[in-house]
Amino acid sequence: MSTRPISNTRSVTGIPSARLITWWVIASEIVIFGGLLATYVMHNLGHPEWRAAAMHTNTWLGALNTFVLLTSSLSAVLAFKAADTLDGAKAAKFLRLTALGGTIFLVIKGIEWTREIHEGFVLSSGGFWSFYYVLTGLHGLHVLAGMIILLVVAADAAKNRELQRVECIGLYWHFVDIVWIFLFPLLYIAR
């Protein structure tokens, strides 16, 4: 790529621009998920019958997914530590491990969806299911996007380039993780 503009290298606040913009992107994502979750919670309070629908989600698979995602976050932290010591190859290894975690998450999510669709619960089967598919689907898209970025960053990091990006994608991955931490109890446990 061409050279970096000066504006990108300046840091008046003391926070590197890359980290700063990651935080702002996460902030805007929080508003999107926050709005959706708040809407869901408000509706859930007004519809006691949704509890019955929520009984059909598989708590065990959900819990397993929580575990998978938390583990992948751990490897994202390890990748950041490796990048901090300028060990690009190691960072890349951990990033790919994180992406693998994301893949497992999506596979399990896919199994869940398949089961639910087989049981006849689809997007249009009522309020709870509409929210369920929209929330998990939107989250799944974020996981997918995160995985792609993880792999791109890993490819660079393996050649010891752009190591500052390891931290940014790590932050983003934690955010995706935390969104799941909110989704899991709301969709699987609160019945």
């Binding site: 061409s2 050279t3 970096r4 503009p5 000066i6 504006s7 990108n8 290298t9 300046r10 840091s11 008046v12 606040t13 926070i15 621009s17 700063l20 913009i21 702002w24 992107v25 902030a27 805007s28 994502e29 929080i30 508003v31 999107i32 998920f33 926050g34 709005g35 959706l36 708040a38 809407t39 509706h43 519809h47 997007l123 249009s124 009522g126 309020g127 509409s130 929209v134 939107l138």
Partner: protein
Amino acid sequence: MSTQVPHAEQGIFQKYFWSTDHKIIAMQYLFTGMAMGLIGGYLAYVFRMQLAFPGHSVPGFGIVTPGEYNTVVTMHGSIMIFWVAMPVLIAAFGNFLIPLMIGCDDMAFPRINRLSYQIFLLSAVVLVASFLVKGGAFGGAWTSYPPLSASGAYNLTPLGASLWLVAVALEFVAFLLGGVNFIVTAMNSRAPGMTMYDIPMVVWMIVLASIMFMASVGPLIAGAVMLLFDQTLKTGFYDPARGGDPLLWQHLFWFFGHPEVYVVLLPAIGIVAELLTVFARKKLFGYKTILYTTWATVIISFLVWAHHQFVAGIDPRMANIFSVTTLLVSVPITEMVFLYIATLYGGSIRFHTPMLWAVAFVAEFMIGGVTGIFLGASGTDIYLHDTYFVIAHFHYTFVPIAIFSVFGGLTYWYPKMFGRMLNDTLGKVHFWGTAIPFNLIFIPLFITGAAGDQRRTYNYALFAEQSRPVLQHLRMFATFGLLVMLLFQLVFLFNFFWSLRHGRRAEANPWMANTLEWTVPSPPPHGNFAKLPTVYRGPYEYGVPGRIDDYWPQDVPN
């Protein structure tokens, strides 16, 4: 890691369509916005002609059927706010001014910037394409209330409704990307020595607008996805028969929609602050106070949204709270306007075209502001809600915002953008030909609104009270005003394109202004500054006692 590397000669496509240079991207936003503005103006012409001569064929359009009328007003509203005011005020001026005014060579993330424009362009293309699909473009008002918008059987523009939502959602994403870039650039990439209070007001305002946009639009993006699913996948988020709630959309929409007004207002008043100080040769009266009042406005504007829904079936007790917060928002805004007026005190005012726009902005915006009180007071809103009084009110805010301040800004920064001066005489002809007819359009509409004319009505013939001849004459008068105003825009277009080639060459600082963009050649070269500047003082040091020059650029050591 250094800039100032001489860039290889790029092809036309590389230079104008694939550039990461903030100035080119600003121009892309500006010209896209202007093109969309022409469409929006044409639509206004169509529905005003229909209202003045109902049932007659409108020259250049044909007979306006009820369905077409809905489409035309819906698209006029959507285009003017989302595809004209937003791109021009925030993106075009933001992209052009922020790096230049804070003294750096580009945005912090130039490629994100390019991506933001490309998504925006895509959204504009989707919107324009929606005119061509079967059933025509969406006709359920720019507020898009479900269940009307949620079902093709109700709105009768099933494809248009979905395309409209897709276009709006894409537009939001584009401005989120652009917005985080603005915020980070202004936070991190300022020239050495530029403290928070040395930032020119317009940069502050664009950044605050971006933060506000970011904080308000999220729920609506989620809401738009839900509405899209209601339209296409038969979910029931907004369908009361299936456990949904039509009011939910109204809350999500107005939680965004009201801050959105301030999102476009803030850059406009930022531009006006620059114009007033430069042409009055005055320091801005109470820089910090203006900043605090802006923050107050930003915060309060998140708490007023339900004043659009007083009679929408919300709990009537809630209306009291929102009535109070709505009148509360008038407090900081009034203070701000007073400070702007006070800035003129003791000045030495030059009435060049940009200054005319700036003063007209303040004068007209005040009318828009005070008429808002009638609508924020819940008692009178029962009667005035969704009448032409509302239309006249918000046009008295939006037209100064999206037209007056934009023309002021364009005439002021034109030499910096294109390296040539606009013709001042033509500029003044255009100014008077816009500002006077503008009042001719909307003052009659206040009266028809107070007489009960309801909005989005293509023909009042079935309403005995509304088809009184006097009201019809007022409508015709408003249409006359619009025609005159539209014609005078030709003067601007001519001036704009003629001056590109034939205008007098502009020196670096033709207006004797202080801010950093005037320290570089006009137009600025790629990379902006030959030597990156250091800032020694605030942006509005005009008429400082003891100096020979009445201005004191920010980058001059003493």
